[in-house]
């Protein structure tokens, strides 16, 4: 294929990939190290003292959630940092003056986020195999959940970067929103173990549905139904997509 649109898209993706591998010690290595620590401390030291959940060892139970955590952080961090940096350095102008339609530009950035999420997710899965063994009960659900979630957070990263007016503003959401929601999103426990009140509050956390869908893809167990999971993931992705499209259309935070 050689349509101008496709060439533009390919150019963007190539630049993203080059960047991810060039600064691999900032993009690929950190999640591998962080997650290895989780595996050692939670899975190994603490997990060995705990009873199995839904027939799986604690280590096996938390691996899918931790991989999902990696996917969320990586996709978000990739778009928020490349996009904000492009804004800060004004290199975004190179793209804005070009005839590439907005949706192609958005697709290019999102693809960068998704690729980094899959790369880091894959590395973390490999590392987890040093600690435990994994089963895959539904590969379609596994990939669909990873794919939708990484698109969703790549889009969210763009929104954050468009509104951001300083480097501080791009770390607020990851620190004060993403991390708490992920920790409380059933990565480390099944919400069926919680008192009813907290169980109900947890159901309002969208990340819970992503973690559970992903865990279902691996282990075949989930706290919530897959229909709900995919409705939540699809719904939020759609909202983010529309938000990004509207921001591009208005040129808010991008054009003078």
């Amino acid at each position: 294929m050689k349509s101008p649109t496709f060439v533009g898209y390919k150019t963007m993706v190539r630049k993203e990939l080059v960047r991810i591998f060039r600064i691999w010690s900032q993009t690929l290595l950190p999640p591998v190290i962080t997650m290895s620590l989780y595996f050692v401390v939670f899975g190994g030291f603490i997990g060995s003292q705990l009873a199995p959940i839904a027939g799986y060892s604690y280590m096996q139970y938390i691996v899918p959630g931790l991989v999902m955590m990696t996917i969320i952080t990586s996709s978000y961090m990739n778009t928020v940092s490349t996009f904000y940096f492009a804004k800060w350095q004004h290199t975004i102008d190179e793209i804005l003056v070009s005839p590439m339609p907005s949706w192609v530009v958005i697709a290019g950035y999102v693809t960068g986020g998704v690729l980094r999420a899959f790369l880091t997710g894959f590395l973390v899965v490999i590392v987890s195999l040093l600690f435990t063994h994994l089963v895959i009960s539904n590969i379609f659900i596994l990939f669909a959940a990873a794919f939708l979630t990484s698109i969703l957070f790549a889009l969210a990263g763009i929104v954050n970067a468009i509104y951001a007016k300083s480097f501080d503003a791009i770390s607020i959401v990851p620190n004060f929103v993403l991390t708490p929601l992920t920790y409380l999103g059933g990565v480390f426990y099944s919400i069926s173990l919680l008192p009813p009140l907290f169980r109900h509050i947890s159901l309002a956390n969208p990340i819970l549905y992503m973690v559970n869908a992903f865990r279902y893809g691996f282990l075949g167990v989930s706290d919530v139904s897959m229909v709900h999971c995919f409705a939540v993931m699809g719904g939020f992705t759609l909202v983010m997509l529309i938000w990004v499209l509207v921001l591009f259309k208005k040129g808010a935070g991008l054009k003078k």
């Binding site: 190179e94 793209i95 070009s98 054009k255």
Partner: protein
């Protein structure tokens, strides 16, 4: 023939919250035919960058219409953008990237593959003296080279219209001349060029047509020749026999005469002014003129005069 650029009633306001901080463009209309070499001349803050940014798709407009090669930037912005190459006022490439990559990636955004773009990239980088530097990071380039890199990047998709925002700011004299030659050549080969400058010699040397912009309004537009002719500004130097003392200058007050040195007066003649009056006055105070030297009339003076006239009018209004 459709003009390359057609601007009607263009307004641009900058907002801070709900408050308008600046009205950068107050209803600008311009028509630039294809093949033109056009200068937008104006002091700092006149609105030049605002206008260029809107044309290139980097800025939003508040009001008015902009049509590029017959394509409205409202109806089909992507097609309109495909006709334009932009050399912005500020550097806006990634300083960590290599020179050739910057140019090739830009081609990619315009739908041109690396293989297709390579021969032309080589040609323009060579013409601009950057081919030897192609594998160097952009941050290692000098200011003039960075500017030329942006010219190469703007030309990689062979645009019909080239916009340059103060292209020679911070470029040394030698390099400025060679850049002018490059642009002249480009224009002769058919590219329409619109450049902004507050550097008058540039407009005079390069451009056929000039619009003077100040405080967001076009205050004059025409060919360089017309502009000069219209205002009939002539400056002459008069060599005098008598020394031009303080006392003599007192007597000459109110005349368009300025003391240049001990024995030289500068006479500026506006539209309709004749030298006779000045001579009559001079002989009445006993000053004899031995020689008259013409200084011609320069765009510089036209420009200053226009802006002063406009500002004076604003002040009284």
């Amino acid at each position: 023939m459709t003009p390359a650029i057609e601007i009607e009633g263009l307004k641009k306001k900058y907002w801070k919250g709900k408050v308008v901080t600046t009205e950068a463009l107050k209803g600008v209309s311009l028509s630039i035919p294809k093949g033109e070499f056009f200068a937008l001349l104006g002091p700092n803050g006149a609105g030049k960058t605002s206008l260029i940014s809107i044309l290139a798709g980097l800025g939003t407009k508040t009001e008015g219409t902009v049509v590029v090669n017959g394509v409205s930037i409202d109806k089909d912005p992507d097609t309109a953008k495909s006709f334009i190459g932009l050399v912005p006022q500020e550097f806006n490439f990634s300083i960590f990237e290599k020179v050739l990559d910057i140019v090739i990636d830009q081609a990619g955004y315009y739908g041109i593959t690396k293989a297709e773009a390579m021969p032309y990239a080589k040609e323009i980088l060579t013409a601009l003296g950057l081919w030897e530097k192609r594998n160097d990071q952009a941050q290692t380039l000098s200011g003039g080279m960075k500017r030329r890199l942006m010219i190469a990047r703007a030309l990689i998709h062979k645009p019909e219209i080239l916009l340059l925002d103060e292209p020679t700011a911070g470029v040394d004299v030698e390099l400025r001349r060679s850049m002018w030659e490059f642009l002249k050549d480009l224009n002769e080969k058919g590219t329409t060029i619109l450049l902004t400058t507050h550097y008058l010699e540039e407009a005079e040397q390069l451009c056929r047509r000039v619009a003077i912009i100040n405080h967001g309004e076009i205050i004059e537009e025409g060919s360089v020749k017309e502009l000069l002719g219209k205002l009939h500004i002539t400056t002459v130097l008069l060599d005098t026999v008598e020394s031009l003392t303080e006392a003599i200058m007192q007597l000459l007050r109110g005349e368009p005469l300025v003391r240049e040195d001990e024995n030289t007066l500068k006479l500026t003649l506006g539209p309709g002014g004749t030298m006779n009056e000045a001579f009559r006055k001079l002989s009445s105070v006993g000053v004899h003129v031995t020689n008259v030297r013409s200084m011609g009339s320069r765009l510089e003076e036209v420009f200053i005069q226009l802006i002063e006239k406009k500002d004076a009018k604003d002040a009284t209004a």
